[in-house]
Structure formats: C-alpha cells, structure tokens
Symmetry: C2
Subunit: 631 residues, 2 copies
C-alpha cells in the first residue's frame, strides 16, 4: 500500500516534515485471510485474533410503492454495517484497533457535533462512518492518525484529513465493536427525468441513516448471515460461490432506487460505463431480480415502453439504455447507439426487441402477474410483428432469422450486446447467438399468447419457432460438426452463446422446448456436438489459461455470459463438461480474486489469456451466475 | 499540456486504440498573450486574431438581506460570462473555434434536452457551460473532440467524456460568441450551522443560472470593463495591477454567500486550507470588503460575537476561525487551535481579540454604522479590559505589551497569524508586530469610545496607547538601529510587520496617530530607521531574488502582508523605498505569474529565494493590496 501524504507541511510551510504515517507495517496478502460471503466481506489476521467485516445484507424487498415507512427505512437504508474485533484473552497488554475512512485531500467532520448517538466522522452531508458511543472507544483526527502531533480541546484536529475510531481491547478480553458506513444525497440527482433517491423520503439526513444502521445492526447481521449460509450450504464449489458473492456485491453497488412523481424508479447503472438500465444487462439480471425484487423488473419494463420504445421501418423496438451518469436521455433515444456504424456503438434494435419480449414474458410467467401482462397485450403483439419483419418484409420469404438492419442504423449494421467482440458475436444479422435467442423468444411468446387467450398469435409463435429451429439446423457444418457464428461470408468462428437462448425456457420450466428428444431434437443434437467440440483447449477454452472464451476468434471473454452458458450446458449437455471445462471455475474465480480484475470489483470483459480486465469494471451483470443455485 | 486519455478503449475492449486527441498543436507560452484584468482574463493568439476571455465582474453589492429578487439574481448569480472570437476578415477559409470543459472520467449531458435557450453541456445538476443558440454554433461530444468517430442521431455521443461547443467563423468575417459557465449546489451544504447557498433562493437550477448569465451578459460585461478600466487607469505600475487582479480573482474564488434562517451568512474560505472566516484573514480583507460589500464585514463580526467568542482567564476573545470545509465548529471553538503547543496550530487569543477590535472599529468608522456600533458597546468595553489583562493582571504593572498567554493554550504559548514563520513573528508574547498592532487597536478604540460617549474608556485607550508607544521605544537597539522582533531571549530578527499596526489609523485618516511629528514621534523615528535598514538585500530583501521578506530570519514570506507593509511604508516612510525595494513589485508579480505559484491561483506563502509556493494556495488574503489604490 502507498500511505497517504501528510498535509501538515502545507500548513506549517515546513516541507521537510516527515510524511505520515510511519512506523507501521502493512499486512501482506499472506498475513491475512479474506472471506467473501454472499452478504459479507471478512478479514482475519494475527492468527484470527483480529477480525473486520463489512455486511451487505440483501433479501426480498417488497414493492417500494407499498412499503410502510418503517419497512422502507429497513430495506432502503443507504448504509453498510460491520464490525471490528480482537481476541485479547491471552494478551498481556491492551490492544488498540483503528478504523478510518478518508476523502482524498478533503477533511471530515466529527459526528459528535450533530448527534449524541454517534461516534464517527462525516464528509460534508454526503457520507460518513460511525460506531456506538462506548467505553474504550475514542475518535481521532490529525495529520498522522498513528501518532497525531496536534490535539485540540477535545483531542481532535479537525483541519486534518485523517480520521479514525480507536477501539481499545483490554488484556484478557475479547471485544467486537459495531460499525456503520452511511451515505446521503439529498434532492434532485438526475436530469431528463428529475428524480431523487427513494431513501430521502424516509431518512432526513446522514446522521439519521447512521443512527438507524447502528440501531438495526443485529437485524441486518441476521439477514447477512442467512444469505451467507444459503450460499455456503449450496451444492456449488468454492470458486462458484466466490463468483456469485463477488457478482452480487458488484450488482448492488451499481443499483439505485429513485423516486419520481410519487413512484419508484429502478436503475441499475452499467458499472464503469454508468449507462442506466442497459437493456441487454436487464435481461441477464432478470433471474436474480425476480428472486429478490421482481417489481424492479416490471418497473424497468414499464419505463422502456413508456419512454424508451420507438418504431423503425419494421415496427417497435427499444433503446439500448435509458441514459448515462444520472442523465436520462430523451424519449426513444439511448446514450449508446450511434449511426452509420458496423461495430461497437451501433444500434441494437433486434437485440433489445428480444430483450423486452424475453424479460416481459419471463417476469409475467415467473410472478404470475397476469394483470400486468394483460395491459401489455398490444405491445407483445407489436413485438411479434416487429420480430417477423426483421426477418423479411414478405412473410413468404421468412426463415426466422433476423436479416433486416434497422433504418436507425442509417446504413450501418445492427450489433448485439457482444459489441466489443469480433464479428462472430458482434454482428446481429444472420447471427447464431441471436437466432437461438430469437427461438427462445418465440417459445416464450407462444406460452404468453396462449395465457392471454390469443390463440392465433400463439400458433404463429409456435410455427415460427419451429421454422427458425429448422433453419438453424441447415446452417450446421456437417464436415466440422460446428455451427458458424455468423451465417455469412464463410465465417468459421465458434461461439458458446449458441445455447444462450435456451436459458429462458429452462428457467421457466418449459420442458417441451428443452426436451432433447422433443420438437427441437435435431437442433439439440447439433448443438451438443457444437458445444462438446467447442469446449476444448484452443477453441473455446483458452489454451494458456484454461478459461472459457465466448468465441474461438476473440480473447475478449465476458464472465456474465460464461455463467449463462455454463448453466445451460450443464442442464442440457452435461457430458460436455469435461475436466478441462470444469476447471474453468477456478480460473474465472482467480481472475476476479487477483488485481488484474479484483481491484475494480466484479469485472466482466476479461482477456482470456491473461485474466486482465479489458472493460466492464464494477459490473453488475455477473449476477447471471445466480442461475447456478437452481442446478 | 497532457491531453486527456480517451475512454474509447474501455468500451471497445480494444486497448490498442490510439489515445485521443491527436493531430493538434498546443500553444506554447510564447505563442499567446494573456492579460489579467481586474475582472477579466483574456487570451490572444494567432496575431491577436483569436481571442478568449472570461469575465468575473464584481462591484458594490447591497445588503443581501434587503435585495429585490431581480437584484439578487444579478449580484448573486453563480456564473462567469465570457466570449470566444476570431477575426477571419482576411481569411480564405472558415475557421472553427472550440470551447470545452471536462469533468475527469465523468460525462456531461447536453443542455438542449432541458432548455431551448442553451447550447452547451452540464455535469449533472452541478455545473455546466453554454452559449446562445445561433447559426454557426454546434455542440459536439465524443471520445475525441477533435475527430469524433461516433455520432448519434443528433451528432453527439453522450456516453463519451469530451464535450465542446464548435463555433464557425466564415471567411471574411469577424465573430465573437458569448459563453457562460454556471454552477449550482442545491440544499444544505454546511453542517454545525446548516446553511444553503443564498443564490438558491432566486435561481431554480443550473439551467436558470446559465440562461440568466447569457441574457445579462452585456450588463455583466459593462461591470467587468468598468473594473478593468479603474485598475488600468490607476497610478499603479503593471506589476502592482497584476497582483491586485490576481488577488481579487482568488478572493472571490474563496467566497461563499450562504443563507441561514432567513439571513445572509458570509464566508470566505481560507484558500487551500478551507478554514471558514479565519479572523486573521478577515482583518486583512476589511479594506477591500468595505469598498464593495461592507455588510459582509458586519456579518462576520456578528457571528464572531454570537458563536465564536469565548472567555479565558483574561476575559473575552474570539476563535481563529469558524470551521473548515463547510463544517461550522461548535460554539466558541475554531478548527485550527490546539492545546499545549509553542508554534503552528497553537491558540491566537490576543491576535484574534485585536482582530475583532480592529475590524469592528474600522467597519463602524468607515461606514458610519453608529446603530450597529452602539449595540456592540459592551463587547468593545470587554475587549479593552481583556487587552489590558493580557498585558498584566495588576494594572500598576502594565506596559501595554501582551505578556500573558491564554489559559486555553494549556501550558503552551500563543502565536500570531504568522504561524509558519520562525519565532520572529510566530510567538505572540513580547512580539513587536503584535505590540504595534495593539497600539493601532488602542488608537481606534480611543476614537470609537469617544464616538460612543464613553469618555473614561476613551481616555484610558489614549493613555494606554501612549504608554505602549513609550514601552516599544525602550525596546529599540540604539547600537544596531533596529527593533528586535521579539522582546525576549536576545532575539535579533528584523521584521517588516513592525509597521503593520499603523495601517488602521492610516486607512481611517486618523492623522493625529500617523503624524510623524505628533504624539508617536519618537516611535516613528525609530521605525523609520528600522524599516530603512531592513529594506536592504540580505536583511528583508532576499539576496537572491530581491523579493521582500517578512523576517530577516525566515525565507517564508507572505504576499498579503508584504502588500500591507508596502502600503504603510510608502505612506509613512517613503524614503525607505529605495530602488531595490521598489524592484520588489516585479519580483512578487513574477512569482505569481510563473508555475511555482501561478498554477494555484494567488499564493500567499512563498519561498523568498525561489519564488515557489510553500503554503496558502488559492488564497483570498492578497486583496490587502487593494490598499495601494488609495495611495
């Protein structure tokens, strides 16, 4: 670690002042053990006598529109609880523990000035940390927290940038002290749609948040412990458990519950890119969100219809996202999509059309929210028609595969969510990944239309699914035993997302569509061969690292999508899970555990040969791995 | 300059992408001319065909408590106006001008989404820049502003971090385009005392601010031009004019007008230290503030009485400051002062007591605000008594010089505002600078008490001044012709602030106290000799640079205090202004013009040998140079 520079010299004019802190020994990785639980992050050192943990409890959150104030305070508190402890039962001297948080060159203020219930410090009105006043706990602030030279009437020096809580554990005792980290951003925080944080309706300020978090810390700890146990007791191996835990932390770190005109407004920010409710992430979050807060899925779907849908020459579709960096883009426009392009930043019209269909039908089927579904009948019919027209304007010439680029691309080509990969996954037109995803969408539409009593539409969806499945089988290369990634220009890339589209019928238990010997048997037979051959070193297992590659022709691989592919492959083609393929879990977990990725929370885009992130830092999308818990 | 890194690669996963911008040539200092006016900052290049200017108009601001909404919008707008132009009358091709502002890794949003009257960009709801929609003006946003690769339906790419306005000047034309930079921070921004910005009462949001600034730009430009002319037409040399202009910019950059419980709350932040209303700065700002917004002086004085006064073993005094970094410290406590110290960060009880007396009496005498003065009668009497007791508890043993350290120092020694200098100026007890400042305070108290009809108190003040003046004369070293800086331990440092205390009677025209042949004639004769000898190379003129040094024994020199010393010396001892002393102006200006100081706005603490800042960056205090305009 690099210790912070002391600001003392800037005041005293004495540039020879020794830079603080000194006389300390930073722990090396071998000196401590870190355990990431599903809802906790715990550090142990000094033969486990020292412990420090931050808890990020999560659970089922009822619809915020209907929460009581007390429930809203519990579920929406912008706070993290935690603890710090030392087991000094065998010690002969008291031990001092210190916990501090800095804000760059900025100073923090003592919370004792504004609250009797808090010992701690705050950065303005925005964030702070606190513990409960108790014997053996003191506050410290100075240019050098380890050895402060200057102390005011209460032992602090509030112009100095280093702050901390000091906890004393007497010899012969074991003590654990509670901690809370709180956040508060008042007022309007977005533009385009002007919204504020939902928690500001039930918390008055940062002090209120911190006091609440400390008061409710036992309840929060119970929720966190329950989640930790659920994951630890699952059948997943340790690497898989770590990946789910890391992904969940990163997902919640990207989420915002806003409030606009008396209603909740759910936003998941796209990690480092900060695009809001990027639809090709929403569709991957759906499995996780339906378990914990299904109203969030509905909330995003509604806003996509109300504000972020549009019509091109083929009919309805939806934007890639709703804006960026707290800025909601204008009606019908994303922040991402540009015109006249062939690759990254082009339009994703077909991809997002499928994403609305898949997310909406999955939401409705999983929750049984038939009232909501009925209200979306016309939208669903329009989506089906739009999907047809992106195949071919003339119904007689349709084969089920998207071949018509949106007029919005202004002469360019549509792309898929795999925007930064090579053409194997990037191009939408005649794309294997998108074709199978389209198949999944028709399967779900068939069930949904039937549920809505739309018999003709249901039959059309079923017929189209069958037609599309047959069409895909014709693309199989019987000589190689592979599908090409793109049905154009002699492409020979091999891709794992060939099976991604089956995750939806698998999730919803539509066994007629996932029966290997059922209506799609010929396609499944080919996909089994494709996947079994792809999961070999040098093709879709990286030769150097052993990690999974989305495409044989790109070293840019995405964990969130690996997670879906693994789930589908284990369900449909378990025999493809060779020892080499299974070994991927450890490779993927190690990528996220080490600095190449780990310093940026969960990373999604990773170089398969080096394990170093190449994009999508602080990413929420890894919660697609939540699917594994259903295996 | 170092061009910013393009964020494109983080999206595309392509780390080989060429870093933008390229193909540009940055101007070297010899390629452009920069002119800092009192209320403008103008850049010219390309044989003056290109011009860019930012205006920071200031003027007399009426008491904000009594402003109409329209007047409040004009005076309090958190905005800077400006322009960009090109003279293409002799050109054969159109010329494109670009103006942009970044926010680190963050993106900005197009203002056209929220306003029809603005072309420009904003960072969230906090700051932005705009021009008036016009032919030949377009917005641009991308990863590479000079050559954007990706454009959406309106030609922008809102996920990218670079934004700009592009102005086209056709061949044969000269065009100037207006600019506005605006800021907005809603809601509570301070703690301890919870206050918001005063401008939030009359502006709804950032768009409102920017629209107003552009609409009123001609009026603002007139005010700026008037100020520029006033300074340019003064008798001061170019170096002095530059120093005043730089200081004024830095002063306003440190100021905040807040609103608390229906009343204005004036704060000047202490530059990089961000301490609020540091009293030893307030006393130096008084000459400037009384010219433009005298209510600000009264506002600070009132809060010092109401919240930031205290009583020690000698009686009343005032805290060093009111807090730090938007955090108002508790009643009677500063953010700076610590206990048990001999040097920097110790208490400044006597210094701040004098500062309240000097600021209050100067305010009242200059403005004629007798009603306010009457309300402070008891405080003034208490101050006089407190000053006495810091000399000696026993009236019979008093000689006028502060010799009693505050009990708050808890065994330490009081210091003066010159906290980072050596003992020559740092120690309060038996200090020449503080003794002469005390003399100034008694002189002003005499006049003030007389004005209030307090005859006995006035006589006591007069007697004490005379006693103190006599005492100081006994400290003169007739062998060397100097005063020692500290009347203790054989100190032989020579200091220029020996005359600082006379700035107040000079400012108020109390000629009986500044008549070289009057009641203080013996003291003036000694001070003349002291100053004339001090202003020699190797003593208080730096041998290497020629700059003025506050103390012969420290290379840490402070521009704001040099400015006061220069003013007093030119008024009282003009014969001391030798050619070498006069040459200081250019040295001081060059320090602020070059990167050693200049990159941090006005700097106050400077190494006299190198001209490099050693503290007090972004400092407001240099407006003490405003005194020069009265010479």
């Amino acid at each position: 670690m690099t210790p912070p520079k002391s600001q003392e010299g800037a005041f005293t004019g004495d540039t020879t002042v020794v830079q603080a802190p000194r006389g300390f020994k930073a722990l090396r990785p071998s000196d401590y053990e870190r355990t990431l639980g599903w809802a906790s992050d715990t550090w142990r050192a000094d033969e486990a006598r020292f412990g420090f943990s931050l808890l990020t409890p999560f659970g089922q959150v009822p619809d915020p529109a209907k929460l009581s104030k007390a429930a809203a305070r519990f579920h929406l508190a912008p706070a993290i609880t935690g603890w710090i402890e030392y087991d000094n039962r065998k010690g002969k001297k008291p031990v001092e523990l210190m916990f501090g948080v800095g804000a760059g060159d900025d100073t923090l203020r003592p919370l004792t000035d504004t609250s009797d219930a808090l010992l701690g410090f705050a950065h303005g009105t925005h964030f702070g940390y606190a513990t409960v006043p108790a014997r053996g706990v003191t506050m410290r602030q100075g240019f050098d927290l380890i050895d402060p030279k200057f102390r005011d009437y209460r032992g602090l020096h509030v112009i100095a940038g280093e702050t901390g809580l000091v906890f004393t554990v007497p010899a012969g005792q074991r003590k654990r002290f509670p901690l809370a980290l709180g956040f508060y951003a008042a007022g309007t925080i977005t533009s385009g749609i002007t919204a504020s944080y939902a928690y500001t309706r039930v918390f008055t300020d940062l002090e209120d948040v911190l006091t609440h978090a400390l008061a409710e810390r036992e309840r929060y700890a119970k929720v966190a412990a329950l989640r930790d146990r659920e994951l630890a007791h699952s059948k997943l191996n340790a690497d898989q458990q770590f990946l789910i835990a890391q992904a969940t932390h990163s997902y919640y770190g990207s989420s915002q519950l806003l409030w606009h005109k008396g209603q909740p407004l759910w936003v998941v920010n796209e990690g480092e890119y900060r695009m809001m409710n990027t639809f090709d992430l929403t569709v991957d979050h759906v499995f996780f969100e339906l378990a914990w807060h299904p109203w969030a899925v509905r909330n995003a779907l509604d806003l996509f219809v109300r504000r972020y849908s549009y019509t091109d020459q083929c009919g309805i579709s939806f934007t890639h996202d709703m804006g960026v960096n707290d800025f909601f883009t204008p009606v019908g426009r994303s922040s991402y999509e540009c015109d006249g392009l062939e690759g990254c930043f082009s339009h994703m019209t077909m991809e997002q059309l499928l994403n609305w269909v898949l997310t909406a039908t999955t939401y409705a089927a999983h929750t049984g929210d038939i009232a909501w579904l009925r209200g979306k009948k016309q939208i669903l019919l329009a989506c089906a028609e739009s999907m047809h027209r992106r195949d071919h304007a003339d119904p007689r010439k349709r084969d089920g595969i998207m071949k018509v680029d949106t007029s919005r691309a202004a002469g360019g080509s549509e792309i898929t969510t795999y925007d930064s990969l090579d053409v194997s996954l990037g191009q939408a037109r005649n794309n294997l990944y998108l074709a199978v995803k389209t198949l999944g969408a028709w399967v779900l539409l068939e069930k949904t239309f039937a549920r809505l009593g739309l018999k003709a539409a249901a039959q059309d969806a079923r017929d189209t699914a069958d037609l599309l499945a047959r069409t895909i089988t014709t693309k199989f290369e019987s000589d190689t035993g592979f599908f090409p990634a793109v049905f154009e220009k002699g492409n020979r890339s091999r891709i794992l997302p060939a099976v991604e589209g089956f995750v939806y019928p698998l999730f919803l238990g539509y066994t007629d569509a996932t029966d290997l010997n059922g209506r799609f048997a010929p396609l499944f037979a080919q996909l089994r061969q494709h996947i079994s051959q792809a999961l070999q070193p040098g093709i879709c297992l990286d030769e150097k690292s052993g990690g999974w590659k989305m495409s044989s022709t790109s070293t840019n691989t995405w964990f969130s999508k690996i997670a879906i592919a693994q789930h589908v492959i284990r369900q449909l083609f378990p025999e493809a899970m060779t020892e080499a393929a299974e070994a991927g879990d450890k490779v993927h977990a190690d990528w996220q555990r080490t600095p190449g990725c780990g310093e940026h929370a969960m990373c999604d885009q990773i170089r398969s040969d080096t394990g170093v992130v190449c994009g999508s830092r602080y990413y929420p999308r890894g919660v697609s791995a939540y699917l594994w818990l259903s295996e």
